[in-house]
């Protein structure tokens, strides 16, 4: 049979038509499209067993409950925990990408001395030598932890001093501590029972205190309603996020908050809106109006609004006593819905900005904000998980990061009730890292181990038989059968919360009305964020959108 050109064309066309009817081209197309999605340089997620763990965030002192999704033993997702008694499922925006911080390019992975690589042995020898030569200090950013007890035990043995760094929220409670003699750590804001919250520039809806605590309260009891159960009055020169959502925004001139507080106090007293006895400010309302840029009527109206929906509590952005005094006048100290004293007494601590005498060495824990600079010429041993740059510490010591370290989480500074939680080491830390407590334990093995201290603290809480454990279901501690069971629950992500504060345990006496004009600088939205770096996905908020300002001094 002779094959001519015509047969060739017909055969070819037939073959093509037949091919289309077979799965071959579609399979090829599918394979090509899948192949182009899987080039070797395209990152692939780790695959392995997927499980959910519960823990507590340790990136700031807020102690928010976290649900961590793990795949192949790596944390791959973070969400809030609805059963957490303070945050009830809410987290700050940065927490949702916090699990990526473990791989941040600025992660410290080696010991550095004077900018050069060094070893743990050298660091240990240098610190031991310093301890032998003179007094030392240990600075802690989150007192009350098991690691804090290790620090205190070490400093007691080595003629050293244990010091703490106070957050802005804790500083706002400092005036009440001065007036009452009760330590700052024993004080808290009873926001759950307040019906009016007057914030003098505190970003209460934007990461203040335990992020999510007040946000949840506001959402449930106000949430933009015209006549809400919880009234939020924001006094601030600019229209911040909190001011934008407040029931009332009172725009005042920058630095005139103390004058406004004095003007309001005069109105409260002159119009007999309060019954408290005590000193009064000398500033007349007209003068207060001139300084703040408000009208005398606006100040009068503000004073009336403070008392028409009580309990009312005033929150300052910092430790300005002129603003804090308003709570004393309002009778909001030691009463439900105001400033309260927690059930348990906490010893008073020395703030790190008042270092007593000359020091040979200062050990700074990784919980201390990166910007902290020890006010001394001593040799500084700085533990940190990330190198934020610009720190003058002689020694930089790589510390474990979020989810890599077993630690306990004591009561957040603004909470009115004691809480206690345990954050487990869910992820494997790099070999090179050590916590400050581990470092000290290697120098002095007679110190108590963190794990034992956590165990002892759990036993102590269990023996007291008070409070409730918030796990899958809230359970009274008194109903648990053993301390071991209690500790197990905490290690599975539950949070213990103590009893509410008793009334009348806190009294503040003012000898004269404090008048301190200071500019309450509204901190950056990232002020409360302790790490010197941001999760990489935070760039969505300020680089790939105009939602927020780029954070000063922090790199994503």
């Amino acid at each position: 049979m002779k094959v001519n050109r015509r047969d060739m064309l017909i055969g070819g066309a037939g073959a093509l038509a037949g091919l289309v009817l077979t799965p071959v081209p579609w399979k090829l197309l599918s394979d090509v499209s899948i192949w182009t999605q899987n080039f070797p340089w395209i990152p692939q997620p780790a695959h392995g067993p997927v499980e959910t763990k519960y823990s507590v965030c340790t990136l700031c002192e807020g102690g928010c409950g976290m649900r961590v999704r793990m795949a192949a033993n790596y944390p791959v997702g973070v969400a809030g925990v609805g059963s957490h008694p303070l945050t009830r499922g809410a987290l700050c925006p940065l927490a949702f990408a916090a699990h990526q911080l473990n791989w941040h390019p600025r992660r410290l992975r080696e010991v550095r001395h004077a900018g050069r690589a060094a070893s743990w042995t050298e660091a240990q020898a240098a610190f031991q030598k310093a301890c032998g030569e003179g007094p030392i200090a240990i600075v802690d950013g989150r007192p009350g932890r098991a690691a804090s007890s290790v620090f205190e035990a070490f400093t007691r043995k080595r003629r050293g001093s244990y010091q703490i760094v106070l957050s802005a929220e804790s500083q706002a409670l400092a005036p009440y501590a001065n007036w009452s003699g009760v330590p700052v750590a024993s004080l808290g804001f009873d926001l759950e029972n307040a019906r009016t919250v007057v914030s003098f520039g505190a970003p209460v809806l934007d990461g203040w205190g335990t992020p999510g605590r007040f946000t949840r309260l506001w959402s449930e009891r106000a949430g933009g309603a015209a006549d809400p159960q919880l009234r939020l009055i924001q006094i601030e020169p600019t229209l911040s996020r909190t001011a934008a959502r407040a029931w009332q925004w009172v725009p005042v001139r920058e630095g005139s908050e103390a004058a406004l507080a004095a003007g309001v106090a005069r109105v409260l007293w002159e119009e007999r809106l309060v019954t408290s006895q005590g000193p009064l400010p000398q500033l007349p309302p007209a003068e207060a109006a001139a300084q703040t840029g408000l009208t005398p009527e606006a100040i009068r109206e503000l004073a009336q609004r403070m008392v028409e929906n009580r309990p009312a509590v005033v929150i300052a952005a910092d430790g300005n006593p002129a603003i804090a005094a308003l709570n004393v006048l309002l009778g909001a100290v030691g009463t439900p819905g105001g400033i309260v004293k927690k059930r348990k007494d906490v010893p008073s601590r020395v703030p790190a900005d008042s270092v007593p005498g000359p020091l040979r060495a200062v050990l700074v824990d990784s919980t201390v904000p990166w910007e902290f600079a020890a006010p001394t010429d001593a040799e500084v041993f700085r533990f940190a998980a990330w190198d934020g740059g610009g720190n003058s510490a002689g020694w930089l010591l790589p510390a474990p990061v979020f989810l890599e370290e077993l630690t306990d989480v004591p009561t957040p500074p603004t909470s009115a009730r004691e809480t206690y939680a345990v954050a487990l080491n869910l992820a494997e830390p790099p070999r090179e890292v050590r916590s400050a407590a581990q470092f000290l334990l290697q120098i002095d093995p007679t110190l108590p181990a963190v794990e034992k201290l956590i165990h002892a603290r759990c036993e102590e809480i269990y023996r007291a038989r008070q409070g409730t454990v918030y796990g899958e279901h809230p359970t009274a501690v008194a109903k648990l059968d053993s301390a071991q069971h209690f500790e197990e629950q905490l290690r599975q992500g539950a949070v213990w919360m103590g009893e509410p504060p008793g009334p009348g345990k806190l009294r503040c006496e003012l000898k004269e009305w404090p008048m301190e004009n200071r500019v309450a600088h509204a901190g950056s939205w990232a002020t409360a964020w302790v790490p010197p770096v941001f999760p990489a996905l935070a760039t969505k908020l300020y680089q790939e959108s105009n939602l927020r300002e780029p954070p000063a001094g922090r790199q994503a």
């Binding site: 997620p45 949702f96 934007d206 934008a244």
Partner: protein
């Protein structure tokens, strides 16, 4: 029975914190910003925009509007222009699904979308060394050169469907399927649910007197509803609708 999933976002509760934006990116393996990325070239399937009443000083008021794909239910603009059939409206869920494997990167859909809710992947997805271990294993990383948008967290939907199938149920448990943005919202401003189910909390919310939709006059039937009691916020949405309508008709 087919569902009609959608959002109802209460703008009076939104504080503009950005938790939804970050949670969305983490859930869906959206890469962090490339060095040259800007708000115009970035990848933000859930984007929160700040708007104001246009006044200055003490009369100024601001609000935040989370904007994701509106999952248009009628004459879906992106579906009708896509030459690759890379976008589909899933009849079972009402979700407008973007399939990156089919996408050519022509960006017709971006031009057609009246909400600017679609984003082009300008760069290869990249994370710092080691950070790929933190990616969600349930979501494939998309290549450079394709368009991305909100798909209502399909990995979570699949997971809920698998769970229902394992339990012998045909319908998923609503508690098992909540997109990352709604789950992350600390004020509960973002409600998610089945708009076709009268028992679902989103149903009365979407039909409340203060609910509205962006560019409603275009008739695309978005499945994202907004709520606000502030007259200027609602007026803003309607004014934008007017502008958009004028633009379309020259």
């Amino acid at each position: 029975m087919s569902a009609r999933y959608g959002f109802v976002i209460d703008l009076d509760r939104c504080t503009g914190c950005g938790a939804c934006t970050v949670a969305c990116a983490a859930e869906n393996n959206v890469p962090p910003a490339q060095a040259r990325a800007t708000p115009r070239t970035g990848l933000t399937p859930m984007l929160v925009r700040k708007v104001s009443n246009g006044m200055e000083g003490t009369a100024r008021r601001e609000a935040f509007i989370p904007i994701a794909c509106m999952h248009c239910g009628n004459e879906t603009p992106c579906v009708s222009v896509c030459p690759q059939q890379a976008v589909e409206v899933d009849k079972a869920t009402g979700i407008v699904v973007q399939m990156p494997q089919r996408c050519l990167g022509c960006r017709y859909c971006m031009t057609a979308c009246p909400y600017h809710a679609r984003y082009f992947n300008w760069w290869d997805p990249a994370w710092p060394v080691g950070m790929e271990k933190s990616l969600n294993p349930g979501v494939a990383v998309r290549m450079r050169g394709v368009v991305e948008k909100c798909n209502m967290c399909p990995a979570r939907l699949h997971s809920a469907q698998e769970k229902a199938a394992a339990a012998g149920r045909k319908e998923i448990d609503p508690a098992d399927y909540i997109p990352a943005c709604a789950e992350a919202c600390p004020t509960g401003a973002i409600l998610f649910g089945n708009l076709a189910d009268e028992k679902d909390p989103v149903f009365p919310a979407a039909h409340s007197s203060d609910a509205f939709r962006l560019l409603a006059r275009l008739g695309t039937e978005p499945k994202v509803y907004y709520k606000s009691q502030q007259a200027w916020v609602k007026a803003l949405a309607e004014r934008d609708s007017d502008r958009a309508t004028e633009a379309r008709h020259g």
